[in-house]
């Protein structure tokens, strides 16, 4: 990216979402005020459509449409139609105006037969309204719970994404691990350990480590504060650039460290360190 316009390569990387976070932010800032770069970006994005279209068509999974439409219905939270309950106005019952029945027996029975059918639809309508209200209320509460859950998931995803980013920066093969030194001297082998005893969490990053024979390995040790025997904390071999890492090895929780050490051991590792110690560092205060 130059000071004036974003290069085509960077615009392509931007549209592929492959720029780093910092570069992405810088590109977005520039794109907000540069119509020329925005136009070039839209051209590149247009080309990317062709790549999307190169896929083999796949049938969508069985039931996917129904699942989606159900989700749409629940997301929309539309009220249930009430027309069924209100459209049919109750008919006036002509009971009082009915002509008297000739039979006494019939007259006695008639009121019961005429009121009962009238009450049933009203009772049913009332029950349905109560049920609708109850379900609506419950739906609302469930939606609220769902929203809370979604928020928590998003928050956890963000935290996990951040943690993964940190881990990648420390340990990914593509990560550039550089030891800065004064002048042009060759940096000596070094290691950096971050250790949280209460959570048994340890990350070790080594730099400029000397190559090691095929039947050997480096082994990291925790020297416990209480004088117990050194605790093995992971095996590692440096890559071609002398870089290596140990991330979250299995460790018992709650072992405060006095110091850390690295030794050279057999390829399968050892249960106690073999001298000499090639790297060491006190945990300090």
């Amino acid at each position: 990216m130059n000071a004036h316009h974003i290069s085509e390569d960077d615009l392509l990387l931007y549209s592929l979402q492959s720029l780093s976070a910092g570069q992405t932010a810088a590109a977005e800032l520039h794109l907000e005020t540069c119509p020329e770069c925005s136009r070039n970006l839209s051209e590149i994005s247009g080309d990317l459509v062709l790549l999307s279209l190169s896929v083999e068509p796949q049938p969508i999974p069985s039931g996917a449409r129904e699942r989606f439409l159900k989700r749409v219905a629940s997301e929309s939270q539309t009220a249930a139609p009430v027309g069924e309950f209100t459209a049919a106005a109750p008919r006036r019952q002509p009971i009082l105006s009915d002509p008297p029945e000739p039979s006494r027996v019939i007259r006695q029975i008639q009121p019961r037969r005429s009121w009962f059918p009238v009450l049933i639809p009203w009772a049913a309508a009332f029950a349905l309204l109560v049920l609708t209200g109850f379900l609506g209320n419950r739906n609302q509460k469930l939606s609220e719970l769902l929203d809370i859950d979604k928020g928590q998931i998003a928050q956890l995803s963000a935290q996990a994404g951040r943690a993964q980013q940190v881990l990648d920066a420390l340990t990914a093969p593509a990560a550039k691990s550089v030891t800065l030194t004064e002048g042009k001297q060759t940096p000596p082998p070094s290691g950096h350990t971050s250790y949280l005893a209460e959570k048994a969490a340890l990350v070790f990053v080594g730099n400029n480590l000397k190559p090691i024979a095929g039947d050997k390995t480096y082994e990291l040790w925790i020297i416990p504060e209480d004088g117990r025997a050194p605790l093995p904390a992971g095996l590692f071999r440096p890559d071609d650039h002398g870089a290596a890492s140990v991330v979250l090895p299995p460790l018992p929780a709650g072992v405060p460290a006095k110091a850390f050490a690295v030794t050279v051991e057999r390829a399968e590792g050892a249960s106690s360190p073999t001298m000499p110690i090639v790297l060491s560092g006190a945990a300090g205060l």
């Binding site: 390569d9 979402q17 790549l51 083999e56 439409l69």
Partner: protein
């Protein structure tokens, strides 16, 4: 046809604004295939691809105004958004862009299934006419979401070579589409 289908998309989006679920169903029927296919190509997992597809369409349902016609055609826009969201899912990260952010210069219309299928067939043919190393590199960048340097590391090719291959592949595709010299798939098959 393109104008009418574009108008059809616009009408469906307008109905979505009014909360018309039937319009949402129509839009889903029209574009779920391409969205799902792209997501599946990236993720190689039907459940994850369906999740991506549903999330995209739900976002449209919630914010039908997110797409405006100046951003290209709806189908093309969805095809790119599907790729971006699938890559996000692949990397297990939060969506890096809002769907509103994607702007396309392409006028590719994908609303009619038959036309879309023909176009996709053409693009596949063009893609496979690329030199194998260009095809591989551009697919690693687009469908695997690898950066140029990651591709360089994985293939052992120089970083500059990777960049050049991707650029040349895109230029070749763009030119092929503009030329519209469409090779006949049947003839291609006979020649082999």
């Amino acid at each position: 046809m393109a104008a009418s289908t574009a108008a059809g998309d616009a009408a469906l989006l307008a109905r979505l604004q009014a909360g018309d679920q039937q319009a949402m169903a129509s839009l889903f029927d029209r574009y779920s295939g391409i969205v799902y296919s792209v997501a599946f190509r990236v993720l190689q997992d039907s459940a994850q691809a369906e999740d991506v597809m549903q999330d995209i369409f739900i976002q449209i349902w919630k914010k039908p105004g997110a797409f405006v016609s100046g951003r290209g055609t709806l189908g093309a826009w969805l095809a790119v958004v599907a790729r971006n969201r699938a890559i996000d899912a692949l990397r297990r990260r939060r969506p890096t862009d809002s769907v509103e952010d994607v702007v396309l210069a392409a006028s590719t219309n994908l609303a009619v299934e038959s036309e879309r299928n023909v176009l996709m067939e053409k693009v596949r043919i063009y893609m496979h006419q690329l030199p194998p190393e260009q095809l591989k590199t551009v697919e690693m960048a687009y469908f695997e979401g690898l950066s140029h340097s990651e591709i360089s590391e994985k293939t052992g090719d120089a970083l500059g070579t990777v960049k050049t291959r991707i650029r040349l592949a895109l230029i070749a595709l763009r030119k092929a589409m503009h030329r519209q010299e469409i090779p006949d798939p049947a003839i291609q098959g006979e020649a082999k």
